[in-house]
Symmetry: C2
Subunit: 117 residues, 2 copies
């Protein structure tokens, strides 16, 4: 094992945490589909503008999106397509997982269904 908690905490703070909200992932997909400014994004995704701006601020701070001024607007774009690839891989994994255990896993709740042990 050549990985330290230190590095993982850094990784967590920069990338994992950024993916820690479904709306941010949705924003990344939307920007990957087409770069946009905050207002257009907010309208397209049906979210309040401050919320989108806050998410974008976080993503930009972590260098996962880039910004370009265009008149009074700020155009956001995905900076590294690998982040999309990562999420795509996660989606494939999820699909496999769900197809294998079709019966549970649907609700990560603390209910104690009969354990399969």
């Amino acid at each position: 094992m050549n990985v330290t908690l230190d590095e993982l905490e850094l990784l967590h703070g920069h990338i994992c945490q950024a993916l820690g909200d479904p709306k941010r992932i949705l924003i990344l997909y939307a920007l990957h589909d087409q770069p946009r400014n905050v207002t257009a994004l907010a309208e397209a995704l049906g979210m309040p503008q401050p919320t989108v701006s806050r998410h974008l601020g976080l993503l930009r701070q972590r260098a996962l999106v880039t910004t370009t001024r265009e008149g009074a607007s700020v155009i956001y774009a995905v900076s590294d397509p690998r982040i999309i690839h990562i999420v795509d891989t996660m989606r494939e994994m999820l699909r496999d997982i769900l197809s294998h255990h079709q019966t549970r896993l649907s609700e990560p709740s603390a209910s104690q269904d009969e354990t399969e042990d």
Copy 2:
């Protein structure tokens, strides 16, 4: 864009959230290096046993690790190596980000020597 918030929320609940803690990633790496039981893992990583058990319970609930009884012990193992590949890709991204622009990760204020968030 063929991704819905619904799917991403499911994805978040199953996988992203599982990666949302550095210690869990460390646990995944450790298990990928070698499957182990709770106690051995706790000792190797220097964490309290209940903490490790709780993390493992979460990972198992999401099918990211598998369990095998071995006498009185329960051996945990990574169920899908793609999760490791994902984290490795994230680490590469992080390395690129950090090396690329040491000066651009910060914004408004004129602080450049810092790699803080």
